[in-house]
């Protein structure tokens, strides 16, 4: 295999010009080569010596409806591709009437192939390329699901076809719209494609380095792969948290189920779990409202979690959490099952449309009103409860140190509750979003925490489980949250 590599000492990255890092698959012999390319994408200038040579040829498989006037340019490009493909990994793959080029490594490994090969994903610190590659491939798949990849491709085809109509610009407004959407989708698609490409290139490099016994190259490539792995995790998260209000701060509310002290204690444990989780993520945590139980625990509590994507993560926790353990409050040492319900409410930014609240619709109550009040009483108790009379929605705050501040906090909670109610109402009207309605409704049991007779935390929605309840109760929730978010992506994809 002939190759040579330029090392750029300044940044340690490789620059490869004439190496077959990637093969191009899928030339459907039925289609003339021109059909793979469309004029919109051909405007990109080639830059030999840049590692993305091949991307350019690979990123253009979607213009099967197009007819191409600039065949001379295409001709040269095709030669290029063919020259690079001299080893001849050619296979065909059909998407309906379209042909697509699926990038793969020199030995035919594709991103989907990596993902489906179920290589074990080890810790980042383990220098194992298969593990890195599998993690990256997994992230890429999540990102593609979020983008609704197949639909995106179909849409791109349609848009490309539209763009190639000679009479397109007769209606400049329409043309502008089409062209903008095309550009935006193309940008997203290219980003993913480039990312896939990079992965395959690194894999090829590692294999090559091993073949050639070049340890320096191998370790460089391994490092690059690790960088990609971290990068892909970020991208995956970005993809998972793309909901309309995901970036908002939020309130988390925990309410004890029936069952007295034992379930109030459980509610307090759940609340503590969220407090530590939020603190570990670097979010600001403020207790807004807390109604303690008589003996232990809490009847209910509301915390405010301040920070980017607090709602996006926390919304995965909505539902009923079930605990099985031997109750410390039962002198008979019997096993108890308790429930705590969790609600999560986004705090919409000023930019969002918020529900208008009429002052006259509110009833503001002071808690624990009793006795003569005024100068007779010195109390630091200044809880405020606000009732929104038309909806019956209430909000309470008692943890601020002045009644005025408690009222302001309670108003903020009330506002968010009413906003959420409105969002739910609109979602209900729009049947497409029925899923989000179930997300915010109570009553669904989502997770079980068993402390006895065995130890297990299991998410009933995703079947994700861990055998160390202590770490979960200490706020180690991210894997539960991510597996749920990722699973709900699949669900969304399935529905569409």
């Amino acid at each position: 295999m002939s190759y040579f590599i330029f090392k750029r000492s300044s940044n340690g990255s490789f620059c490869i010009s004439q190496y077959i890092r990637t093969k191009t698959r899928a030339f459907s012999s039925l289609h003339p080569l021109d059909n793979f390319l469309d004029s919109n994408q051909n405007s990109k200038v080639f830059d030999p010596g840049c590692s993305s040579i091949l991307h350019n040829s690979l990123k253009k498989p979607f213009g099967s409806f197009s007819f191409l006037p600039s065949s001379s340019l295409l001709g040269s490009q095709n030669q290029h591709s063919l020259r690079l493909n001299r080893k001849g990994w050619i296979c065909a793959r059909e998407f309906g009437s379209q042909a697509a080029i699926e990038p793969c490594t020199s030995d035919g490994l594709t991103v989907d192939g990596i993902a489906s090969s179920k290589w074990t994903i080890l810790e980042e610190s383990e220098s194992d390329w298969k593990s890195h590659a599998a993690a990256i491939a997994q992230s890429i798949q999540v990102i593609k699901r979020r983008l609704q990849w197949k639909k995106l491709m179909v849409r791109l085809d349609l848009l490309s076809a539209e763009l190639n109509k000679p009479d397109l610009w007769n209606d400049p407004v329409h043309a502008g719209k089409i062209s903008r959407e095309h550009g935006s989708l193309m940008g997203k698609m290219k980003e993913v494609k480039a990312f896939e490409q990079e992965l395959l290139e690194h894999i090829d490099m590692i294999k090559l380095a091993r073949e050639e016994d070049d340890t320096e190259l191998e370790s460089e490539s391994m490092k690059a792969l690790l960088r990609m792995r971290r990068d892909s995790k970020d991208k995956e998260l970005e993809a998972l948290l793309a909901g309309e209000h995901d970036s908002c701060s939020c309130y988390i509310e925990v309410q004890a189920g029936a069952g007295g002290t034992e379930s109030m204690d459980w509610a307090a444990m759940v609340m503590q779990m969220y407090k530590t989780w939020a603190q570990r993520r670097g979010y600001g945590v403020t207790v807004v409202d807390e109604m303690p139980g008589e003996i232990a625990g809490i009847k209910r509590a509301t915390i405010k979690v301040d920070g980017e994507y607090a709602f996006g993560y926390a919304k995965a926790e909505v539902g009923v959490h079930r605990l099985v353990r031997i109750s410390p409050f039962d002198s008979g040492k019997r096993r108890h099952t308790s429930f705590a319900a969790v609600a999560v409410i986004p705090i919409l930014g000023d930019g969002s449309s918020r529900v208008q609240i009429n002052e006259s619709d509110l009833r503001i109550e002071r808690f624990r009103a009793g006795g003569a009040g005024g100068q007779h009483v010195n109390t630091t108790e200044s809880a405020v409860r606000i009732v929104h009379i038309p909806t019956g929605v209430t909000a309470t705050c008692q943890n601020e140190r002045s009644q005025h501040q408690n009222k302001a906090s309670a108003m903020a909670v009330l506002q968010s509750r009413l906003d959420q109610l409105e969002m739910a109402r609109q979602a209900q009207m729009n049947s497409q979003h029925t899923q989000s309605l179930t997300e915010i409704s109570w009553g669904n049991q989502i997770r079980t925490y068993v402390l006895h007779p065995y130890r297990l935390v299991k998410d009933l929605r995703t079947n994700y489980e861990v055998s160390d309840p202590d770490s979960v109760l200490e706020g180690d929730l991210d894997s539960f949250i991510l597996s749920y978010l990722s699973a709900s992506l699949d669900k969304g994809e399935g529905e569409q």
Binding site: E365, A369, G374, Q375, H376, R401, S402, Q403
Partner: protein, 373 residues
Amino acid sequence: MLKLRSSGLSCGVCANFQIPIPRCFMNSITTSSIDVKPKVPLYLRPPSFSASLSELTKWHKWAKNLASSVGSSFINLDNGPDSTLLRRELNWLLQDLIELQHRSVILSRLESGNNENPDVSVALRAPLEEMYCVWRQRIEKRRPFQYVVGCEHWRDLVLSVQEGVLIPRPETEVIIDLVEGVALNNVPELAQGFWADLGTGSGAIAIATARALATHAHGDACGRVIATDLSPVAVAVATSNVQRYGLQDVVEVRKGSWFEPLKDVQGKLAGVLSNPPYIPSGDISGLQAEVGQHEPILALDGGISGTNDLLHLIDGVASMLKPGGFFAFETNGEKQCKFLVEYIENEKPGSFRDMNIVSDFAGIQRFVMGFRR
């Protein structure tokens, strides 16, 4: 001795001692003292003390247990605080005690009972010995929490308070709502006039009113507030609160009884506000310990029916207000409100318009208000 006390550092340290022995300071201020130096609230003191996390945890546990031992005994005794409330106060005390930067970490450590790094040093605004002392005073002597931390959160303000000054009540917050919602919204030009807060205490009403006037003012013509009080401690504390909010050019604190120091603005006031003593003398002995045993009787006792000072205010207010001027007074409840309205209707016919009784959040008729004709 008061003069010797340094105001910034360690208010608990008495200057008579060379070694800084924390001292429980209670009711040490005498009203006869002319040069009263206001105490610095705990949360504003420099974090120049420290304790290890394990020492702090030990204190916290002790304090929590002390709070829990109260149960509902104070409620049953005189409608005082219960354990839940005392534990919440304990959290607030910790908030004020611990230096801001590491506060949230330390607080969550204490809450979760995490025992890692017990030797780590925590910067505090008062020595831990003093904290043992003041928390015991809170529980055993029923010293009001606000005197313990030296401040009261009232509306959006944090006001210094100390023995000798009435702790502003949440009910009184409504007076500012009346100033904004009733007076300034209906008669915007009142925002440019002179206002008076009689018996200002900590300066709460005066400061909040000054801020309300500023937000309702148009252009440069902002109203001013004169706050009066008979008590030199109140005058000193109110003055320092006014300064802390940077309002010394807007709020003037004058020493004297009710309208006495206001001769120069007679008939010119745009508004008169007051939370005068209104508790009937006979009720004083039965008051909740925090109030009866610690707060200044001067600010509480309103004479046999509780209306001595309120009547004095109503008698004077018509001549103090300019036409269209606004007044609002806090009262003991429904009985006093009705009595006062009746009194005004009978004794001052035609002097006022839009008289109204306004309830507090607990639904108790608490305020009498109106406009001078």
